[in-house]
């Protein structure tokens, strides 16, 4: 295992059998993501992007195959181990923002560090630093519902990066945003990637994301259909 690999996935298969009819969401993918990448996984609806991302993030277990994240074999971890691992190594940005509506912006960003047991003074410093980086420090005391969609997604990004994870996974982060807001959000994330060296992995159909990605991974019918650069993709 090379140190620069953030994710190594081998022979990933994910089949759902919830309704009694097997659905093959991911059909045998080998994939490696290296440190500092800013990669978008693209593909049509139902191509298995979200499922693949969930398996890579340890939110879902593969039916077959193995996933290493930061050198740890996460596909065979127990629920409790995975929970701790996600908390310390992965930041999430969701399509629907998914901020806690009863917590203020500041508290939402602070939440993950509370779980990590970081002291209050350090937490406050890091929260404000993250909010400044995403350009939303002035709204620290507001509740999420008092913010626009773009502002909420910036808070979500701040929450994802505040604990300095090895990997930030963003599932369709711009799906609910207009193009101008999406562009600004992606520029901000790209800046974070370049300044901190943090690794970002997106799933998207959004051209704005695709244009700003350093690398594109195409998924079709649950299989990898190429690994390319945005220019080549266009």
């Amino acid at each position: 295992m090379v140190d620069t690999n953030v994710i190594v996935a081998e022979g990933i298969v994910k089949t759902y059998d919830d309704s009694g009819v097997p659905v093959h969401a991911v059909r045998g993918i080998d994939y490696t993501l290296t440190k500092g990448e800013f990669t978008a996984i693209i593909g049509p609806s139902g191509s298995g992007k979200t499922t693949f991302l969930n398996v890579l993030a340890g939110l879902d277990t593969p039916t077959e195959g193995k996933v290493w994240l930061s050198g740890k074999l996460i596909s065979e971890m127990s629920g409790r181990e995975l929970s701790d691992f996600r908390r310390d190594h992965i930041g999430f940005v969701f399509q629907a923002y998914n901020l806690f509506p009863v917590l203020t912006v500041e508290e939402n960003v602070e939440y993950i560090m509370l779980l990590q047991g970081i002291p209050p003074a350090e937490r406050h410093k890091r929260v404000m630093n993250s909010l400044e980086k995403v350009g939303i420090a002035e709204y620290a005391t507001r509740l999420p519902l008092q913010l626009s969609g773009g502002q909420q997604q910036r808070v979500a990004v701040a929450r994802a990066v505040v604990s300095r994870p090895s990997l930030v996974i963003a599932d369709e982060p711009t799906a609910n945003l207009d193009s101008k807001t999406s562009g600004a959000l992606l520029d901000m994330m790209r800046k974070l990637n370049e300044e901190t060296g943090m690794t970002f992995l997106f799933s998207t159909h959004d051209e704005i994301v695709i244009q700003r990605a350093k690398k594109i991974v195409v998924l079709r019918d649950g299989k990898l259909d190429g690994n390319t650069s945005p220019e080549k993709f266009e």
């Binding site: 969930n54 929970s83 999430f92 998914n98 806690f100």
Partner: protein, 421 residues
């Protein structure tokens, strides 16, 4: 953070939370009022029963309660009385002699002459008129005629020859105040005893069973009749408060250790009455259970709705690395926050309700008969029981009904909830 999250989550759906709080507060209030009312009623019934007749504590010769023999007497009761007088919890005490006799009354018409044609078996209670009056206010129950004449000594010369009959017994004997009566029995010395008495009065104690088979003579008359010079069977002790009876019984018992006497509280010597009370308490517990069950259904409904609505949020929490225990604690805490608010609101309401009901009782029309004693009003009493029992019930209910939904929420599959909601 846990408390902050739980507190704010409680007020996310204000209308639903208010309805749940109303249900829980109502449960607390009804339970509290029920307990206050029952305690008040029980207190009244017990005090009525014990103050009017038995006393709250009794002292007998050892073994008398199991085998109430005429020979089981207390001979130095005045010294025991001195001990009782020294105790601040003792209001007063009264000595008594118990025996049985056959009573016969001469028919009232002139033609019957000296024929004592109406007879009945009866319990005979020898009492000190003034001490008995101080203890049980005996003379206030006399419905015709008058009270026995006080007579301290037990010499034949001090015998009054007066008797008081229970009202129902006077009807059986067809006797009234002023009539003559013959009492036949056996004295403690083995000799047959018979004496003639004049009916001084008729008493109605409020307990028809007792009034049907009981008559009363002075302590002096009883000692002469039953050859029990200087002796009594029982000292009935009246206390200042029902709540101190158990401690006072132990205290008296300790002070009288070394004497051949036993000291018992009303729970022992009026066991059937006490067991009846305990049985009624069971019905109170069932009532509280039903009230709390109804409240629990309301809380359960709220918690289930809340868990269902927040499935995605729990999924996000799990994705971010929140442990299941944190989610369980948060939801149980939310239910308990509602519980605590209900307890505070319920306590305020209950205090108002109990204060009102302790001053303005419920008039029973028609009156109820409890063990032969008639009660016409139910009064509530305020005690710690009215608060801590419903409070514990609310907390247990909130914790119990929220635990399973909390467990379900804690085991939300992050990927599934984020995908499907």
């Amino acid at each position: 953070m846990l408390l902050k999250l739980a507190w704010r989550n409680v007020f996310r759906q204000k209308r639903r939370t208010i309805l749940t709080l109303l249900t829980m507060t109502g449960g607390f209030f009804l339970s509290s009022i029920s307990i206050g009312w029952m305690n008040g009623s029980y207190g009244s019934i017990i005090m009525f029963f014990t103050n009017g007749r038995t006393g709250q504590i009794q002292i007998h010769h050892s073994g008398y309660l199991e085998d109430p023999s005429i020979y089981s007497t207390i001979s130095d009761y005045q010294s025991i009385g001195a001990v009782l007088d020294s105790l601040p919890g003792v209001r007063t005490w009264a000595p008594r002699i118990y025996s049985g006799a056959l009573l016969a009354v001469r028919s009232g018409d002139a033609e019957s002459g000296n024929v004592f044609s109406n007879s009945a078996a009866a319990s005979v209670i020898g009492l000190d008129p003034s001490m008995e009056d101080a203890a049980t206010d005996f003379s206030s129950n006399i419905v015709s005629g008058g009270m026995l004449t006080a007579s301290a000594a037990d010499s034949f010369y001090y015998a009054t020859g007066q008797i008081i009959l229970g009202q129902e017994l006077s009807i059986i004997l067809d006797a009234s105040a002023g009539d003559s009566l013959i009492m036949l029995s056996q004295a403690a010395d083995g000799a047959s005893a018979d004496r003639k008495y004049v009916i001084q009065g008729i008493v109605s104690t409020g307990n028809a069973d007792i009034d049907r088979n009981t008559c009363y003579i002075t302590l002096a008359d009883a000692r002469i009749m039953f050859a029990l010079s200087g002796k009594v069977h029982e000292l009935a002790v009246m206390t200042n408060s029902l709540g101190t009876v158990d401690d006072l019984t132990e205290d008296i018992s300790a002070r009288l250790s070394g004497r051949d006497v036993e000291t018992d509280s009303w729970k022992t010597f009026a066991k059937e009455f006490y067991n009846g009370m305990k049985a009624d308490e069971s019905s109170l517990k069932v009532m509280i259970f039903i009230i709390m069950f109804v409240a629990a259904m309301g809380v359960l409904n709220t918690i289930l709705m809340m868990v269902l609505e927040r499935r995605r949020e729990f999924g996000v929490m799990k994705a971010l690395g929140t442990k299941p225990g944190f989610i369980v604690r948060m939801i149980v805490l939310e239910a308990n926050i509602m519980g605590i608010i209900s307890i505070i609101a319920g306590s305020i309401l209950s205090t108002g309700g109990l204060l009102f009901l302790s001053k303005h009782g419920l008039v029973l029309d028609p009156p109820i008969n409890y063990g032969g004693t008639v009660f016409s009003e139910m009064i509530a009493s305020i005690s710690p029981d009215c608060y801590w029992i419903p409070a514990i019930c609310v907390i247990i209910t909130a914790s119990t009904v929220s635990f399973l939904p909390a467990l379900k929420a804690a085991h939300t599959k992050a990927a599934k909830s984020l995908r499907t909601v």
